[in-house]
Amino acid sequence: MVSREDANRILKIALQNGGNFADIFVERKRNVSISLEAGKIERVNSGLDVGAGIRVISGDSTSFAHTNDVTLKGLEALADIVSKAAKGHNGQKDIPVIDRPANWRPDFKKKPGSVPTEAKVALVEKMDKAARSADPRIKQVAVGYGDVEQDVLIANSDGVYVEDQRVRTRMVINAVAQEGDAIQTGFDSLGGLQGFEIFDTANVEETARNAAKRAVALLSAKPAPAGRMPVVMAGEAGGTMVHEACGHGLEADLVQKKLSVYGGKVGEKVASELITVIDDATIPGKYGSLAYDDEGTPGEKSVLIEKGVLKSYMYDKLTAIKEKRESNGNGRRQSYQDRPIPRMTNTYIASGESDPEEIIRDTKSGLLVKKMGGGQVNTTNGDFVFDVAEGYLIEDGQVGALVRGATLTGNGPKVLQIVDRVGNDLGFAIGTCGKDGQGAPVSDAQPTIRIPEMVVGGILDED
């Protein structure tokens, strides 16, 4: 897209009035989305995004600009705009040459761009059919397909020059069940840093049936109980809890701004000894995986918490510069229109040793979370919530009635300290994580774990 020589010339323009660091991010992205509802293909959308962002860091200050004009002339003009806000440390010497190989490279076997739209439409229709035939009470089904092919060029004044391609494919399904006045919905999704080959192994019909069954089951579910109780989260439930309870709090920008309860605690015990938390961008095919982050740093496997002891935060370039250390490849941006910030990739609690079934058997009463929904955290005080998409009462070690409408709320550090069982299973779920108005594809996972007490937001029977 832009040669190394041209990139270097543009970076020098960006640094002409000062600044310690400059980078350029050029992006060309094609995407396709298909949506079906009411049994009809409603939308077939395609998009072409082209643009570039240039950033200059001067001390604690960042100047950033972006444009759609990616001609050399356009990029030079953009560099000139950015340079106006830069200051101090005048004059960049020659830009060195750094080649940092990636720790792994994805292998996209079937680029979605080369797959005919009919094949994508056929998959969408297949999921619709599978969900509808799962139960007569399924009255409405919405299916969404999306693929993205993003080509990026990243160059910076440290000498990094990286070209990378990211291909992501995903499917989501929302099934609506109705019986009398009651309406309930069930959701499921699958996706990865993969091309169309993801469907060689993924069973889209099973994903569709899962969503449908969840919606139907909820029709007869009781409202969730209210108050404090033991909670078991199944390994298949996804990883929203770890994402919210500690993931965000371990992002270095929040830590440095003193906006995280985990700030200043490296080396300290912040969780139960049973808890090891890892962020790993190098797992092939996962939704949050990356060969290089959006600053050209190779994606890594980082141990964040090891046996309860805080080991590291997640850094991007800016936060790494502030601590005079290296970024660990967590600098991500939604597009050329956004500046990079520290983000998670694939975040999980490592498997433990307990038998998941035994964990439930050993729980006298409480709530079993079989599927998590979305969540949110206030990193400053550590309070977090997450939605229970599928939850059951546990009574005398047995899985009891399905309940609906529960949210679990807790305090990250407190919850992780009291975890008393960690299972030997592990299940990933995909999501789009939102931070500072930027969405990033991530995946999260955790084994079956038990938390002796959490607040369940349910409903009290009227007295």
Partner: protein, 447 residues
């Protein structure tokens, strides 16, 4: 970038017609954006951005196709019409896939304040710094600035369709906000203040700073409470969060697809008598007001719930054609990257007559909720919600102590019916507004 939007629109529409489209529409946006984030009286991030793009809908044999491009060079324009035509081949035939016809006149709105463009960047930086200074002055326990910021945007929007609509309008808005942390005895609490306005001189950095500071400081010393049923008061921001859950159920599309709790209830009481909910795309002073929606249909005022009774739904051209009614001008677009889908514009709960102080003074025991967490997990189809909450405990009409770590759950339909008082105060947060709203009784899950 001085693109001639109408000409680009014309060119692409003609191109699509040449490729065999029976009808075509181009939607174009060009904007310039500035944002300045300050912490500790230093500019932490300054962002200057320009962008432009075109989204194109084409129709052929009752099928619709869409494509967009952010590349307005020949490459992008070649791509967009051809790709939209290609996509149309794969979508379902639907006779209601139509474009609006041109109308005479649009409401003239004062959307462009030249001061936003003219004011030098240095002055805007000072404004952002002033927010932080005011916040720190308000209370010395306000010690950390997540960010204090100034932001503005100047934009042009154009819509051209093959039925003869060819319109362009421009506008600008500016905003100021504060995200702050107060600290005391090893405890940290956050607060925010926010103002978005059409006119530069309507921004008040002192108010934005004080609001964020007050909200952070008053949460210090927050305690958990036990599980109980009590009166709950939603502050305007929290109430607008609930409006976000109700909005999809008021869309005609949800009704047509059997996904709305309001379906079949027009003329019936769906909320307390006190409750009136309005959407007004051409509201005077509204930051997202515009003469037209994303399809070129004039924006206007739609009363959705009047004194508790459901009046109707929001329509775009497609749902209106399906129901044989007129579009309400709610075919909204997040950007040129998407098709016009039904969305709210300036969407609000009409103010009541009770001053906020009186609304609170009448409460024996209750929770004034100032923050909810996880509202995006509420289910707009079933109406079920369960969210984390924090706020201030009320006893005998007075705030006694801050509360955190509780959850509230229920169904929005029940919530609308349990409203027993609506305040006379009114606050807008960009496109959503509400006064303070009191709910007679609901479950608060705690320890």
């Amino acid at each position: 970038m001085a693109f001639d939007l109408l000409k680009l629109g014309d060119d692409t529409v003609s191109r699509a017609l040449k490729l065999g489209a029976s009808a075509a529409e181009s939607f174009l946006v060009s904007d310039r954006e500035l944002s300045i984030e300050v912490a500790n009286q230093e500019v932490e991030t300054m962002k200057v951005a320009e962008s432009a793009g075109l989204g194109m809908r084409v129709f052929k044999d009752g099928r619709m196709g869409f494509a967009y491009t952010a590349d307005l060079s020949k490459t992008g324009l070649d791509f967009v019409a051809a790709q939209a035509m290609e996509n149309a081949k794969r979508s379902a035939v639907d006779e209601h896939n139509v474009l609006p016809e041109p109308v005479g006149n649009y409401t003239s709105l004062d959307l462009f304040d030249p001061e936003i463009d003219k004011t030098p960047v240095e002055t805007k930086i000072s404004l952002a710094k002033e927010i932080e200074r005011q916040a720190r002055q308000y209370d010395k326990r306000v010690t950390i600035t997540e960010r204090c910021a100034y932001q503005d945007s100047t934009y042009r929007v154009a819509i051209v369709n093959s039925h003869g609509i060819s319109e362009e309008y421009k506008g600008a808005y500016c905003g100021a906000y504060s995200f702050l942390v107060a600290e005391e005895n090893d405890e940290q609490q956050t607060g925010f203040g926010m103002q978005y306005r059409l006119k530069y001189n309507q921004l008040n950095p002192k108010e934005v700073g004080h609001e964020g500071a007050e909200k952070a400081v008053r949460m210090l010393g927050a305690k958990e409470i036990s599980t109980q049923r009590a009166t709950v008061v939603l502050d305007p921001y929290v109430a607008t969060n609930f409006l976000g859950v109700i909005a999809p159920a008021l869309s005609a599309e949800s009704v047509q697809k059997g996904k709305s709790l309001f379906a079949g209830k027009v003329g019936q009481a769906v909320g307390a008598r006190l409750l009136t909910i309005i959407d007004d795309g051409a509201m005077k002073g509204g930051v997202i007001s515009a003469p037209m929606d994303g399809e070129g249909v004039p924006a206007g005022k739609t009363v959705l719930i009047d004194k508790g009774d459901l009046q109707g739904f929001l329509h775009n051209t497609y749902t209106a054609a399906k129901d044989g009614v007129a579009s309400t001008g709610n075919g909204t677009r997040g950007s040129f990257k998407g098709t016009p889908e039904i969305g709210t514009t300036n969407f609000y709960i009409a103010p009541g007559e009770t001053p906020r102080d009186k609304l609170l003074a009448e409460i024996d025991k209750g929770l004034y909720i100032t923050e909810v967490m996880g509202m995006h997990t509420a289910n707009p189809i079933s109406g079920d919600f369960s969210v984390g909450a924090s706020g201030l405990w009320i006893e005998n009409g007075k705030f006694t102590h801050p509360v955190r770590g509780v959850a509230i759950a229920g169904n929005v339909m029940d919530l609308l019916k349990s409203i027993d008082c609506i305040g006379s105060d009114m606050t807008f947060f960009v496109g959503k507004g509400s006064p303070t709203v009191r709910i007679a009784r609901m479950t608060i899950s705690g320890a």
